[in-house]
């Protein structure tokens, strides 16, 4: 079990800035996130979209903002645990014990939930029958390419993931690319490559259509798709790959006994503590009168929460407010000479 001063759930901009606010106060932290990279919604939903309301930064993309925050917290050497979802939170005396879905355990007097709208999970095919094939012949990500060799693969989706994998897997499998409308929104050059493969008969493209059923005996045999004009077609299929994007699911957070208001957590706006002592919520996931879901609001919220975290992590020390411009201690912590 890893001991630390604060466990931050969510590696979005607010979770990352929490590391900074704790770090300059001399507190250690770990960050846990279900995605495979830091950045949260900024990186997953709008990496290329400019953000115009970060103070003193007239314009930057979600990706740039994430990069800069990672740069800003580098001096603290904080460990990021990615691809991990926090499943359980339990109390042990003055500490909280957090357990992830891969059975990692962390202990700290403070938890800051900066979880946005919950964890990102792939959106699934809406057919009930597809559930029992999940992980066997229905997948929403490619972990090991070798499992996708010499198969009849139906790839669903119109974005970069669908196009990239269609291209890659067409090297050793028969690909049918299926999308609900005629336009693909992936990168243009990938699309031209795919169109070329279509002409060569290596990839077959079906649009505009959607899946209506799966046919199986013990194993998946084929799928039936329906075109907009009502025509249907059966396609022999061993493997389905669905790339319908990600949805945000609140997940286990709802079960930790926190005061919830719909999908948000009620907090005290003085220190952003929830109804549980030592559990804080900040960013999009917290609610209080007048709450705005802005990144800058989240920055403010973790700054205040970090003060309360200090009091809990260092009960015998006095908290002294300091400026980064003048505090030698803070400058040391930032590695500035």
């Amino acid at each position: 079990m890893k001991k630390t001063d604060a466990i931050i759930i969510g590696a979005g901009p607010v979770g990352l800035f929490a590391v900074h606010q704790l770090g300059i106060k001399g507190l250690s932290a770990v960050v846990i996130d279900n995605l495979d990279k830091a950045g949260g919604q900024c990186i997953e939903l709008y990496p290329d979209k400019p953000i115009y309301d970060i103070p003193a930064v007239p314009e930057c993309t979600g990706e740039e903002l994430t990069k800069r925050l990672l740069e800003q917290i580098k001096p603290f050497g904080t460990e990021l645990f990615l691809n991990e979802r926090v499943d359980e939170v339990n109390k042990e005396k003055e500490n909280w014990i957090v357990k992830t879905n891969s059975n990692k355990e962390f202990m700290a007097p403070n938890i800051i939930i900066a979880g946005g709208v919950g964890s990102f999970e792939p959106r699934k095919i809406s057919l009930k029958e597809s559930e029992k094939f999940e992980g066997k012949s229905v997948f929403y990500a490619v972990k090991n390419k070798d499992n996708f060799k010499n198969k009849n693969i139906a790839i669903f989706g119109g974005g970069d993931s669908a196009l990239d994998w269609a291209l890659e897997l067409s090297k050793f499998s028969k690909i049918t690319l299926i999308h609900r409308r005629n336009e693909f929104r992936g990168a243009q050059h990938t699309l031209s490559e795919i169109r070329k493969l279509e002409k060569e008969g290596k990839v077959s493209i079906k649009t505009p259509c959607q899946i209506v059923s799966l046919e199986s005996e013990k194993e998946l045999k084929s799928i039936t798709i329906k075109y907009d004009d009502g025509k249907t077609e059966k396609i022999p299929t061993d493997v389905i790959l669905g790339f319908f994007g990600l949805i945000m699911k609140l997940g286990p957070i709802a079960e930790w006994g926190l005061n919830m208001d719909k999908k948000t957590i009620a907090v005290n706006p003085e220190n952003f503590e929830t109804n549980k002592k030592g559990i804080f919520a900040a960013g999009d996931i917290c609610s209080y009168p007048g709450k705005l879901k802005l990144i800058l609001s989240g920055f403010h919220e973790v700054a205040l929460a970090s003060v309360e975290c200090f009091k809990r992590a260092r009960p015998n020390e006095k908290y002294r407010f300091e400026f980064t411009t003048s505090s030698k201690t803070i400058q040391d912590r930032l590695g500035k000479k």
Binding site: S126, G158, R181, E183, D228, F244, G245, I247, M248
Partner: protein, 106 residues
């Protein structure tokens, strides 16, 4: 004030007055109409305020931007008359508009 009718997938419907200038999504949230989640709060980043717009009305609405159409790809069971309700702004011209919420949002 403009009358907007929100129907659910089972056919239950509710007609409410929504202030001009608000989005169809905000009208639903403020009046606690179920079936619209709006996880991202109207940033066109999540597709959980997805609705079907009654055919005649669909053609009268200002066309969806490319980024909205891209986001609709991520919605639960999108159809030809799908829109994100956060992008439809209520005005006098929309008086009587009918939308239907999908069976679920995610």
């Amino acid at each position: 004030m403009t009358k907007i009718t929100y129907k659910d997938y089972q056919g239950n419907s509710k007609t409410i007055d929504v202030d001009n200038g608000l989005s169809i999504m905000e009208g639903a949230i403020q009046n606690e109409i179920p079936g619209i989640d709006a996880d991202c709060g109207g940033a066109m980043a999540c597709a959980t305020c997805h609705v079907y717009v009654e055919e005649n009305w669909f053609n009268k609405l200002p066309k969806a931007e490319a980024s909205e159409i891209d986001m609709i790809d991520m919605a639960y069971e999108p159809k030809k008359n799908s829109r994100l309700s956060c992008q439809i702004i209520v005005s006098n011209e929309l008086d009587g508009l009918e939308i239907t919420t999908p069976e679920k949002q995610s």
